[in-house]
Symmetry: C2
Subunit: 212 residues, 2 copies
């Protein structure tokens, strides 16, 4: 006898608030991403993360081993999201390669403005706060930067093929330089509460690109 409507339901007590299966976990990750980006990891209490999505405290340790494991999951989650966002620009064949990078920066600036320059980049923030202490975070953050770097390097390689960059350009080096400076600019824009540092870095970066 198969109950069609409930056949996919797992056994066990259902989650509060009508959330299904993995929904609670994802809701926790979402609220955590926002809060950790804005206030930092150590300054954000579990209570606040839980309250925001109306999940009881007892549930937290059902979904995550501890706060550190939760932090890792949040990083993974944000990393995936950010790679998609980055690629949505860098692989956009409607525009030449260099314009794509430009478009990503404009998009990021809008994001900064949208949240009143209070958030910035989770990866950058976590790097500053925990990069030099925690081993697990260090690894995840390094890998995130490595991927971003390679995506931008690919984009610069394409620009070379498109004749927008000099043939002898070291794309890898430039991509590294880009992310070093970009994260610095994000930080400074959080402080000045405007996009001037981001604009300044963007303009200078494009100016230093070796033209063919």
């Amino acid at each position: 006898m198969t109950n069609i409507s409930a056949s996919k339901r797992k056994p066990g007590r259902p989650a509060k608030g009508g959330l299904e299966f993995g929904d609670t976990r994802e809701a926790l990750l979402r609220s955590g991403t926002e809060l950790l980006t804005e206030k930092g990891f150590n300054s954000t209490g579990l209570d606040e993360i839980l309250k925001r999505v109306n999940v009881p405290k007892g549930s937290f340790y059902h979904y995550f081993k501890n706060k550190e494991a939760y932090g890792c999951a949040v990083i993974d989650n944000y990393s995936q999201y950010f790679i998609k966002k980055l690629n949505s620009h860098l692989l956009n064949e409607e525009h030449p390669a260099l314009d794509r990078l430009q478009a990503f920066m404009q998009d990021a600036m809008q994001g900064m403005e949208k949240y009143d320059y209070k958030r910035g980049c989770l990866i950058g923030n976590m790097t500053q706060e925990l990069g030099s202490t925690n081993a697990c975070y260090r690894d995840k953050l390094s890998k995130a930067f490595a991927i971003w770097q390679s995506l931008v390097a690919d984009c610069l390689e394409l620009a070379k093929q498109q004749g927008a960059l000099a043939k002898d350009t070291d794309s890898t080096l430039l991509a590294d330089f880009f992310w070093i400076g970009w994260e610095g600019a994000v930080m400074r824009s959080k402080l000045s509460r405007d996009n001037k540092p981001l604009e300044l870095f963007s303009a200078q970066f494009f100016q230093l690109l070796p033209k063919p």
Copy 2:
């Protein structure tokens, strides 16, 4: 009747451990500078700061109104120290202007290595952690960056006079760009635990300088 040896002594109980006058306060600032730079403001407890210099808790609130005021004092203290350090290079008339900037960077890299890439820059760290929230900190941090920027700009102006830079160089713009990128590089070096990001930024920055 004037007691020469004690005439400058204030009344009141002397500080513990043979410390004189403002020494205890300064000791608190020093231990705080180290700890706040390494672990961040919110993650550092007063107890730890106090224990390190063997000052009882009761004394803390004699010297500082609260933790926030203490944080401000630490920032002020570090700002002054850093300006001296920066000027010791940028005003060093034994070398041409651009070499002075180079020397500062080398010095900073040695500092990073000395503390196992765990500290970095207090101003940068505080900017990331508190720059977008606390008004008092925001003001102090912005001013610190503004001063640093003007010192580097002056140095670049001098380099122009010395014929090391093109006459139409925008020193202010370049100095801004320098600090944006440099703080980004410090952050990344904390993560990678080596000076590669700092070296990379340094090399690229000098390469992009418009030669005469």
